[in-house]
Symmetry: C2
Subunit: 687 residues, 2 copies
């Protein structure tokens, strides 16, 4: 009884009802409040991302006239080695977000131990464990910490809290509640401090916009990146890769990006970061040939450095204490290390025309990654480094491409809060189609993008349905690294697959505008129904302002979906679908259930093989029986000149869809309009 | 790029190969070494358990002549907020233990984030997350911390470690290894300190013995607790409970303990801790009636105090900051609180004859328990309190019964390192039969006991097989709290169930001796094959010194099992089964595959309804064709007088099984031999 004696001698802290003391809340941007529990931490999510708030963007959001939450009840404190925040919650509030979740929508009533990891099936270990939640009441909260964090989302009751529900006897009371209602979200990290940021709405979507803009705005990818991507098998040579690209053209399938997997490197796991002299004897020649065929090249890599790599020696003082697959782990928080990495990627990749990277395995699987207690030169412990390592790689590669003046779009296996502005989409080793679609919906609630890539299928029907989902996500990709599948691999199913890929090209002006909204206004490209009208569906979502997508799954001939308020029309046929109701559709295999809101205009282009090729004719699709209008954004599609005003916003209007106006709404730019011709089409009518 | 600038200004810690510095290892008991990383923590697992090493017991273990591990390579350090230990590992070493695991045997190659919880299906959240591993090389390591801990069991390679395997190119080398061999177990906690204890062997079983004895020895339950237990449905009244007990007697089924579930209390979830005046109007009368019928009463409770409870006011300054089902959580590390709890249990329970408790829901489920950051008067944060809360309750109830002079045996839903000496077995809400059997094997590797209770079944066959497993675990229990199942519930299957229950009574002298070995010598009652001969089986195990048990599962008419070295005989028939080989058996439904080692004697008694009733005739079963011997322990079976020498050890020997000797081997006790008659039976022969 050693302990008892020791404690008897100490003074006891009496615990009665003691909510954490109110924090000092300070408005740090329009509609954004900040508070600090304990000490400021050396690294946070936003500092790791190098986030600089987009103040002009934030200034354009709705004025906030009242506090988004009752700040007087929003407290925090240190409890032993935990920094704790407590944010009040009202009775009928729903909570969304808490990372790139693959199941469900409403997070209230759960406990989330958010940690960067290879996603398996739970709610805690995610490819993007963003500690951000959005309330149905129209605000968002970010726990801006790079630590693994525990979030009690409306779970738990404090002893003596007068707001607690009445105690009931489970023996006899049928109204006994196994999880009594709680009036707070509590979060804690094992650290000396925790920063909390609150983003006002007034709507949940506004709150999400405010979050994105506070992180610096959303990513602005090049146009070509919105076309179709195809990754070739592991150890393809230059000749094989070129042949694969040629086949797309010969068979008339769109292709903008060809992805090379580990075999482009002279060695991998750990990597050399140099071209294989065997499989790619003439990298410059290969890159030139690809570029000439209008196809961009994306290179796979994971960040673990072989001792045989040219990078090893210059980086050797900047490695962490532990290896991954025996490869050394460079600490990108060390500026000199980041510089070495950027310089090498410039020389070996960007200068040859490489368009971007796929940063693999920055997320985890415990037995592969460094341990929680790994030591890094910049001082971050392993667990914190793991939360942000994918963000650091995005930051450095984004900087490299920005410095080069060429936009990029890439893939990354792990991201986190603060990374909205980085042009990278997450992907996963899992392959459940329903989880993939849920991932599409939840990405926008985590401030990240998601690539629901297709890889293989048990049969042609599944292949078509997966490819249809792929083109409805942030990057439209076939990843054949393991299976060698091609769009035309399933005989008899070539046409519906081509049609889905062409649809992706067709909506380029619409999709590009949605990305501009993300970049300049913070609005996620793809929006969960929870952000639209509080709907909890995770198998349907809004793609941009006006298209409702409801992907099909193999084995299902029909599905139900919910049309929000307003009248909705079939994207393709213009057939009236319904208004504010649940409908059941039975789409043919070649058809993606897509619906357009009445009064919307969808700016499109005619089919072409490369999204990156210039298009001068705009085809504007008008739906419904009321006058239509839409916004359109354009720029050169590849450089960063848009940051200096070389871009334009337009307003498209029509009375009846057979003719209309395109009016420039942004001023003061030297951008020359690229769409010289407009074809107006009235697609949908109730009559 | 705020961070980058900040770090640029700071001095960088160059990380090259830097294993943690060697710790100062100090021998603290015969064959037990201790080292401290960082500062000594206020609470550890062993301090929470109030462990006092059994020095006389330890002194009797084999002398240790060489260091169990190369201590010069066993290091530790602080890395930011982590305390880290690194214990060397040789190439062909296997690791067992790491808590009450429900899958597999060898833990090498896994990462374990050990945390107290309701077991679901993983390897991290366990009812007993004991951070203890046993090496096939014959030593054990305990990370003596009450913190949640991450253990990298032979996972991870340090940068620059000359012992690392050669780097290989995954692109081309078929020998590329996804998980390169590691030469250490690394463990870390988020805390300022971590204590490490190393227990020498020479065998793995010796290491386990040393661990148990260092914790104060194993539990010594009363004899009656080794009989059959039956828990009645949730809201049974005194009359219903008495009737249920009577039925066991009338139908000739053994019964020693009747368990009452939440309904014995006037309110539950949260609890009143007082008898229900409705269902138990006369607790004293009820208890007297039960005691007279030879049946002991065990009371369910979870530790969460209703504001309507008489305990609430006296305890109110000793509660944690958060509730569980709105019930207040008393801090048992506060001596005054513990005293109040003990006094109440004495008055309401022990003084009336209550024989023990079932301490429910001390383990977790995050949405039910207090958060990691909960504050407790004694200073423990919530996550640390959760690791040891079940241990604290065991400690206090054990003390209460000890003070009362009556031995107890109870159930608890969460335990941990240091708790070996507490007479409690863990149980679970899960119900997978194979997992239950694995639990039986792994309990002994976690220093805890496990109750593979039967509750219900889909059919009679499953019921029999589950009841057969129940009687082969530390507590033999039917838990009918939810289903109301009785041993005779499946028509046509009454007899095999009765036979299994009678077997449990029959082996009482053997089983009681095994518990005495646990108590005095530290040897687990049930031993995984890994402790016996390094076997990895998790569906067979040793019960005591000489019986090999291989439970059957429903739907299987036959099974394979491995007989270790030596010749083995069927327990029941004495038929020769094999030697050092895998055999396949096809047991009838009423038969449990049990095998006895040649030369063993199994001391048994004749069938009786209560293990707690006196038995004066010993039936000694002899197996094989060589002379037999066995040890036998005895005492009064209920008091603590054995601690003062009122007990005896005997040696049983026979030449041929038809006659033999019982010789007292322990000296100086006033114990009067209870077995006045011995019947010798030769059961098994090869000829």
């Amino acid at each position: 009884m050693i302990l008892v004696t020791a404690i008897a001698a100490a003074a006891l802290a009496v615990v009665t009802y003691s909510p954490p003391p109110t924090l000092k809340w300070q408005q740090v941007a329009p509609g954004v409040w900040r508070a600090q529990v304990g000490k400021k931490e050396a690294v946070t999510l936003l500092s790791a991302a190098g986030s600089v708030p987009d103040k002009p963007g934030l200034a354009k959001l709705p004025k906030v006239t009242e506090a988004p939450i009752p700040f007087e009840h929003a407290g925090g404190e240190l409890v032993e080695n935990h920094a704790v925040a407590s944010i009040p919650l009202s009775k009928d509030e729903k909570l969304y977000g808490l990372g790139l979740q693959m199941h469900g929508s409403d997070r209230r009533g759960g406990v989330y131990h958010l940690r960067m990891d290879h996603y398996s099936s739970g709610k805690d270990r995610l490819h993007a464990p963003t500690p951000l939640y959005i309330s149905s009441k129209g605000y968002a909260v970010l726990f801006n910490t790079a630590r693994p964090i525990a979030i009690y989302a409306g779970v738990g009751n404090r002893q003596g809290d007068p707001a607690n529900p009445t105690q009931r006897d489970r023996n006899t009371d049928p109204n006994w509640d196994p999880q009594p209602a709680s009036d707070a979200v509590e979060a804690s990290v094992q650290a000396g401090g925790l920063e909390v940021l609150v983003f006002a709405g007034p709507t949940p979507l506004d709150a999400m916009r405010r979050y994105s803009l506070y992180c610096g705005g959303g990513a602005m990818p090049p146009k070509w990146a919105l076309g179709f991507w195809h990754r070739v098998p592991l150890s393809f040579s230059a000749e094989q890769a070129e042949s694969e690209a040629r086949q797309f053209e010969q068979r008339n399938y769109p292709l903008d990006v060809l992805g090379l997997e580990p075999g482009w490197q002279s060695s991998s796991y750990p990597g050399s970061f140099d071209w294989s002299p065997v499989r790619f004897a003439d990298p410059a020649g290969f890159m030139k040939s690809m570029t000439q065929s209008g196809v961009h090249v994306n290179l796979w890599e994971n960040p673990y450095v072989s001792e045989k790599s040219r990078l090893f020696e210059p980086l050797h003082t900047y490695f962490g204490s532990h290896t991954v697959w025996l490869g050394a782990v460079p600490d990108l928080n060390v500026p000199a290390a980041a510089q070495i990495i950027r310089d090498h990627h410039k020389q070996v990749g960007v200068d040859l025309g490489v368009s971007g990277y796929k940063i693999d395995e920055v997320d985890g699987v415990d037995v592969w990654l460094w341990p929680d207690h790994a030591r890094f030169p910049s001082g971050l412990p392993g667990d914190e480094m793991r939360q942000v390592y994918g963000v650091l790689w995005q930051r450095e590669l984004d900087r490299l491409f920005h410095d080069s003046g060429k936009r990029t779009f890439g893939l990354v296996r792990g991201s986190n809060g603060g990374a909205s502005r980085f042009p990278f989409a997450i992907y996963s080793d899992t392959y459940d189609h329903r989880e993939y679609v849920t991932g599409i919906t939840s990405a926008g609630l985590a401030g990240v993008m998601w690539c629901a890539e297709a890889r293989s299928a048990a049969n042609g029907e599944e292949w078509v349905r997966r490819m249809q989902t792929a083109v409805l996500s942030h990057i439209a990709q076939l990843n054949a690294w393991s299976d060698g599948t091609k769009p035309w691999s399933f005989a008899g199913y070539e046409e519906p697959v081509r049609k889905a890929m062409q649809f992706r090209i067709e909506i380029l002006p619409y999709l590009y505008t949605a990305f501009a909204q993300y970049h300049f206004e913070g609005t996620p490209v793809i929006r969960a129904m929870s952000l639209i009208d509080g709907g909890g569906e995770t198998d349907q979502y809004m793609l941009g302002d006006s298209i409702l997508a409801a992907p099909m799954f193999a084995g299902e001939k029909s599905r139900k979906l919910r049309l929000p308020a307003g009248r909705w029309y079939d994207y393709e046929t213009g057939e009236y679908a319904g208004a504010n109701q649940v409908i059941e559709v039975t789409p043919a295999l070649d058809k993606i259930p897509l619906f357009v809101r009445e009064g919307a205009l969808i700016p499109t282009i005619a089919p072409q093989l490369h999204a990156g090729s210039p298009a001068s004719t705009l085809i504007v699709r008008h739906y419904g029986d009321v006058p239509g209008s839409a916004r359109l954004y354009d720029d050169d599609g590849q450089s960063y000149d848009f940051e200096h005003g070389n871009c334009a916003w337009y307003k498209l209007t029509t009375e009846n869809g057979s003719s209309g106006q395109k009016t420039r709404t942004s001023a003061g730019s030297d951008w020359n309009d690229a769409y010289h011709e407009i074809i107006w089409r009235h697609i949908g009518s109730k009559h």
